[in-house]
């Protein structure tokens, strides 16, 4: 049986990892390559690097992080943040990432999804979606709207429509981040996750809000997510990946227990 994936997310700024609370007051907490090695040894199923500097000046710093990581860890990892062109994707993939994730660039130019899928295969292309709950309306019938700029800019795009559209364009996976839940540690956005996961036939990674193993259990069962992103709850040592996996395994969720 296919296992549910536990995916630590490392936000990287200027070549160092950070973890922000609701995208504000980011603090440095370490070397991304060392953290990747740590999580690989701890049984993480996959890793996500999110480059929050993402200006062209820092591109080479991130590529260096990706290259050094790829030499040491032999599980899939994806890189997102500031990827705008097929050439950006190629650089990250050649440096050793398994997947690239596009978010803002795809909202502004959806063709990037199709172009990336044609060039590298759908399995390489992850659509990152930042979502906020809003009042249901004709424009946003699901009541969930796509936002960019860390949640400051509403795009007038319905999240449910966008998920389906991205699948049609060739996205291989969706990383679904609730801005409302992000950084709260109070659990994932269950309604949103279940809605998107049932609407598409590609894997959905739930993101934002994990604080307790119970939250992962809930989102991976009731909300039907295929994978769960975690950050603070393991970065700050409250839990280990293996503790979370034991918790899930004890409750009947299929997870990879040997690595």
């Amino acid at each position: 049986m296919l296992n549910k994936r536990i995916i630590p997310c490392l936000d990287v700024r200027n070549g160092k990892t950070t973890k922000g609370i609701k995208f504000k007051d980011n603090v440095d907490i370490g070397d991304p390559v060392a953290m990747a090695r740590f999580y690989y040894n701890e049984g993480a199923d996959e890793l996500v690097f999110y480059d929050i500097t993402a200006s062209s000046d820092h591109r080479s710093i991130m590529l260096d992080v990706v290259e050094r990581t790829a030499r040491e860890i032999f599980i899939p990892f994806s890189v997102g943040g500031g990827i705008r062109t097929v050439d950006d994707m190629r650089a990250v993939l050649l440096a050793g990432a398994e997947k690239v994730s596009v978010n803002t660039a795809a909202v502004q130019n959806p063709d990037i999804i199709a172009e990336g899928a044609r060039a590298f295969g759908s399995q390489c292309i992850v659509l990152g979606m930042d979502v906020k709950q809003v009042e249901k309306s004709d424009r946003i019938p699901s009541g969930y709207e796509i936002v960019i700029h860390g949640g400051r800019t509403y795009m007038g795009i319905d999240a449910l429509w966008w998920a389906r559209e991205a699948e049609n364009l060739g996205a291989g996976e969706i990383c679904l981040n609730s801005i409302d839940a992000d950084g709260t540690g109070k659990g994932y956005e269950m309604t949103l996750t279940r809605m998107i996961s049932e609407a598409v036939n590609i894997p959905v990674i739930a993101s934002g809000g994990a604080g307790h193993p119970q939250h992962l259990f809930d989102v991976l069962t009731e909300a039907k997510a295929d994978a769960a992103l975690i950050a603070s709850m393991t970065h700050y040592g409250h839990y280990t990946v293996s503790q979370i996996k034991e918790y899930l395994s004890d409750r009947g969720v299929p997870v990879r227990m040997l690595w």
Binding site: K4, R5, Y40, G96, Q123, N201, A227
Partner: protein, 207 residues
């Protein structure tokens, strides 16, 4: 020297990195002479079967692979590379290499398990039930999982070539072997230590 065949099918650097990490020399190449001179061959790949076969043929590597198989050189297929060693793929209705008899089929639609619809591609970590004895698939813990990404699966004719099976709505062959050829549907280079173990076994294998 191990030749990792470069036929423009996806990113092959991760296979090379894993092989080097294990202490073996390898080169990513599309050069016939270099491949012919190699001690063993890894045939990886991601992407679509149609384009992959077109590129293989245009590089003259289809004949070269058939010759290497006939000559007894150890060959490891990975993912799309594994699918292409069969006769035919339903993906783009592609005529493939025919080193092993069988067809590569699309997962049925809808793919169901216990009343729930399974997603395609089959992406993530899944188990392999080892059903055959083989030096490349030895020393593995039965509980280990391997990383899969695919929408098509191999359906070999000869069941004795099947070394491992995986369940995803249906049961399919995830590891096959015949003579000097072994092939896996999952990505050993992305499957942590168990995957590296298989790569190491292959690099040391003397069929």
């Amino acid at each position: 020297m191990i030749a990792i065949i470069d036929y423009r099918a996806g990113n092959l650097t991760s296979v090379a990195r894993a092989v080097r990490q294990l202490g073996f020399e390898c080169t990513v190449t599309d050069d016939r002479k270099e491949i012919e001179g190699a001690e063993r061959i890894i045939f990886p790949g991601v992407g679509a079967a149609g384009k992959a076969m077109t590129d293989l043929v245009s590089l003259g590597l289809d004949e070269m692979l058939r010759d290497a198989f006939g000559a007894g050189k150890p060959i490891l297929g990975i993912c799309l590379g594994t699918q292409i060693i069969f006769d035919r793929s339903e993906e783009d209705d592609t005529h493939c290499l025919g080193l092993l008899q069988g067809v590569v089929r699309r997962f049925p639609e809808p793919l169901m398990l216990d009343g729930e619809r399974l997603k395609v591609p089959h992406m993530g970590w899944n188990q392999v039930v080892w059903t055959g004895e083989h030096p490349v698939f030895t020393g593995l813990d039965a509980r280990a999982s391997y990383y899969f990404v695919h929408s098509y699966y191999c359906d070999p004719v000869a069941q004795e070539t099947v070394m491992g099976r995986t369940e995803y709505g249906i049961t399919f062959a995830s590891a096959v072997a015949k003579d000097n050829l072994v092939a896996v549907q999952f990505h050993p280079e992305k499957s942590g230590r168990p995957g590296l173990g298989i790569l190491r076994n292959f690099c040391n294998w003397k069929p």
